[in-house]
């Protein structure tokens, strides 16, 4: 066991481990700090020299969360007494779930067509689509807004859902994954008498599960965290239409005072929780992958 190669391998492994640990720590520490901070008395923050964790047990407080779910004065010109944060949560869920599901459906159908159907100019159309990826979103914001207005989706949650259906990035990634599915499988299914939709539904989708999950997760996160577009579409007037991300942004914008740091952090944690749950659910499928064992190469 004492040969040099083995020791060298172990050293490399240890080095990699340390590097990974370091990167994970860099990623995780702000989150950990934020989560603890959301339960922390603002006075505790002001102590010098300060500490990473709350300094003592008394510093724990739920004030941030209580304020978030009860005090309407954090919302500018709050008139009603009900707490729209539940509304926001629901809105966000509707927008993100519907948006990502529609996004997946459209993207996977398009990817199926690009990979498994022969049609004229398919590669040219695809190149064109890919080219649109290079256009920054900011440029298309105004025309997109006009589009939504024309469709009657202005000040409407549909205005948040509809644009996500045209996600070229998803088409590209799912297509790449579909390209890895052996054509023989599709041809065999075709000879077995399956229609294109049956092939898509029974063969391609089950095999592309992991790619779709990842794409779905991205779509979900994109919709969930989107602030600018939500602000543009639903506007600031009708609070019940706000999404969580936008609402929480308004809250933290209005809580620049040092005292409200707890509140800001609490809102960030609230916004994080659903994503975290989605990740936990999807994680298994992402890691599981799909065995291509049915085909011998």
């Amino acid at each position: 066991m004492k040969n040099g190669l083995f020791r060298g391998k172990r050293a490399a492994k240890a080095l990699a481990f340390v590097a990974l640990l370091l990167v994970s720590a860099l990623m995780l520490l702000p989150i950990v700090w934020g989560v603890f901070g959301s339960f922390r008395d603002y006075n505790d923050f002001s102590l010098y020299p300060g500490s990473f964790f709350p300094s003592d047990f008394d510093a724990f407080t739920l004030d941030g969360y209580i304020a978030l779910f009860s005090k309407t004065e954090y919302i500018p010109n709050a008139a009603n007494d009900w707490y729209p944060i539940w509304n926001w949560l629901l809105n966000s869920l509707i927008v993100s779930l519907r948006g990502s599901l529609l996004y997946l459906l459209v993207a996977s159908l398009a990817a199926y067509a690009f990979v498994f159907l022969d049609f004229k100019y398919s590669d040219k159309i695809f190149v064109f689509l890919i080219a649109t990826m290079t256009i920054p979103g900011v440029i298309s914001t105004a025309p997109q807004l006009l589009n939504m207005n024309l469709l009657g989706f202005y000040k409407n949650l549909m205005g948040l859902i509809a644009p996500s259906m045209g996600g070229v990035y998803g088409v590209f990634l799912i297509r790449q994954f579909f390209l890895g599915i052996p054509k023989d499988l599709i041809e065999n299914a075709r000879m077995d008498g399956a229609s294109n939709f049956k092939i898509y539904w029974k063969i391609v989708l089950p095999l592309g599960k992991s790619a779709l999950f990842v794409q779905g997760l991205f779509g979900f996160m994109g919709a969930w965290n989107d602030v600018q577009w939500a602000q543009l579409i639903v506007g600031s007037a009708d609070r019940s239409l706000w999404t969580l991300a936008y609402g929480l942004k308004v809250i933290s914008d209005n809580s620049e005072a040092y005292e409200s740091i707890t509140l800001s952090l609490a809102s960030a944690v609230i916004a994080m929780i659903p994503i975290f749950i989605v990740y936990l659910v999807a994680q298994r499928s992402i890691i599981e992958g799909v065995a291509h064992a049915g085909v011998k190469r």
């Binding site: 023989d184 063969i203 291509h292 064992a293």
Partner: protein, 474 residues
């Protein structure tokens, strides 16, 4: 289609409805019929040229050829996975060029097996039936029956990834079997198996073929598979059918140099020689008689071919297709071409200097000139002799012995019941298959003769065999 009938659109529609929207031609006798089928890819590459085949019900047809010869493309055209560029395909008297695969009553086994990884063996086998909306009980019955035939009963709940290669292969066969299709298509189904399993599955496939009573088209590059399994072998090269016939016939009467050297292992020895009078003189001066009749026949055949060339070349435009087809079918295999160019010369070639492929017309003109330049009375010839048609001089068991020649073997391979002797002679290395009680020793001189009645003669320029037609004259 040739049999044109005039009718009004209404009548035509009524007639189509009668046959379930299919064009049925009752005059076609064979079950599977391909007529002048060609495949040209959009990039202009011609994969299959003028493919003609008639296969009867229950026949086992093997498409045999080196990789890239168009055999898989042909199969895929029959399957409906590849469009037919021109020509006609009839399956069971039905014009099938444009029928979707699922309506062609075919079942296909892929080289990769193409099992659905996410489904159990049972679902894999039953998928095709399910897609055809068959009743659950019937699917169950058929799947279990197929599983019984293929000995898959205990594996029905497993996923493909839990199966061995041979088991996956059997599932793939089972999937084709349950469909009870009229036509089985198999695309190199055994090439992923090890040698022992391959032999075993060979008989299994024949068993299934007979049990199902279906017509089978089987693509392979393995001549042993084609020879042992098929009723009819179609030898292909570079998209052209080289010969169609029973395995035995193709083996004994190869139509050209390609078939001669492709079929048989070790392959046929091809020797350069000159035909002078009625004697063939090989390199080194060794000569043997082929008979006056045969020699005259050879000359006549060559002359008629030369004449045909001349006629074709007279009208290059009118005969463009015929010229292209002939030139294409005569071209040496690409492998040989590549070999001829050395790697370095290719590497250092300047741009623009690349050799242009001669046009079909140029190729045939060159060939024609080649014939014109032949010396009177002395014709170059290629002689093909199968390894097993050589005998030690004292142990001749053929029909008509040739004169004896001597040589000392470079290498003797022992195969148990026989020897493969590598013998340098006639300016090349010939391989002989000898079953002898006396062990040949490498380096020790050996007296050898061959069976004159079994030799094959080829035209070195066109590669044509000159044996078929003279068979009855012998």
């Amino acid at each position: 289609m040739e049999n044109e009938v005039k009718m009004s659109p209404k009548e035509a529609r009524a007639k189509l409805a009668e046959t379930g929207n299919r064009l049925v031609d009752e005059s076609i006798g064979s079950f599977l019929s391909l007529r002048h089928v060609e495949k040209v890819y959009p990039n202009g590459i011609k994969a299959v040229t003028d493919f003609n085949l008639e296969a009867n019900k229950g026949e086992f047809v093997a498409l045999l050829g080196p990789s890239g010869c168009g055999k898989s493309t042909t199969l895929r055209m029959i399957a409906g996975l590849e469009e037919i560029s021109s020509g006609e395909l009839y399956i069971n008297k039905t014009y099938s060029n444009y029928l979707p695969s699922k309506e062609r009553d075919i079942a296909m086994v892929f080289q990769t097996y193409a099992l659905y990884p996410q489904m159990s063996v049972y679902d894999n086998i039953g998928f095709g039936l399910k897609m055809r909306h068959m009743k659950k009980e019937e699917i169950e019955e058929r799947v279990h029956k197929a599983a019984e035939i293929l000995d898959l009963g205990h594996l029905l709940d497993r996923r493909p990834k839990e199966l061995s290669g041979g088991q996956m292969q059997r599932v793939a066969l089972g999937r084709a079997l349950v469909r009870q299709a009229g036509l089985f298509l198999m695309d190199e189904p055994l090439s992923n198996l090890d040698a022992k399993l391959r032999v075993q599955m060979r008989s299994e496939i024949i068993k299934i073929h007979k049990a199902a009573g279906a017509t089978t088209v089987y693509v392979t590059h393995d001549q042993t598979e084609a020879m042992t399994m098929a009723d009819k072998v179609v030898v292909m090269n570079r998209g052209y059918v080289q010969q169609i016939g029973s395995p035995m016939y193709v083996y004994e009467h190869p139509a050209n140099l390609f078939v001669a050297s492709f079929i048989g292992s070790p392959s046929m020895n091809i020797l350069d020689g000159v035909l002078k009078g009625e004697r063939v003189i090989l390199e080194g001066g060794f000569s043997f008689p082929i008979g006056v009749k045969r020699a005259a026949n050879y000359r006549a055949l060559l002359e008629s071919f030369r004449k045909k060339l001349e006629d074709l070349l007279k009208d290059p435009e009118g005969n463009a297709k015929a010229i292209a087809d002939l030139a294409g079918s005569l071209k040496p295999s690409q492998k040989q071409e590549k070999k001829a160019q050395s790697f370095l010369s290719k590497f250092f070639k300047k741009k623009g200097e690349e050799e242009k492929e001669p046009t079909p017309y140029e190729a045939l003109s060159a060939l024609h000139e080649e014939y014109a330049s032949l010396k009177e009375g002395e014709l170059p010839i290629k002689v093909g002799i199968r390894p097993e048609d050589f005998y030690p001089e004292d142990d001749f068991r053929g029909f008509k012995a040739s004169p004896v020649f001597r040589g000392s073997p470079d290498l003797v391979e022992l195969l148990g019941h026989e020897f493969i002797v590598h013998l340098p002679s006639f300016g090349t290395m010939i391989e002989l298959r000898i079953t002898s009680h006396e062990v040949p020793v490498s380096g020790k001189s050996l007296g050898i003769c061959f069976d004159l009645s079994k030799i094959h003669l080829f035209d070195p320029y066109s590669g044509m065999s000159l044996m078929d037609k003279e068979k009855e004259n012998l």
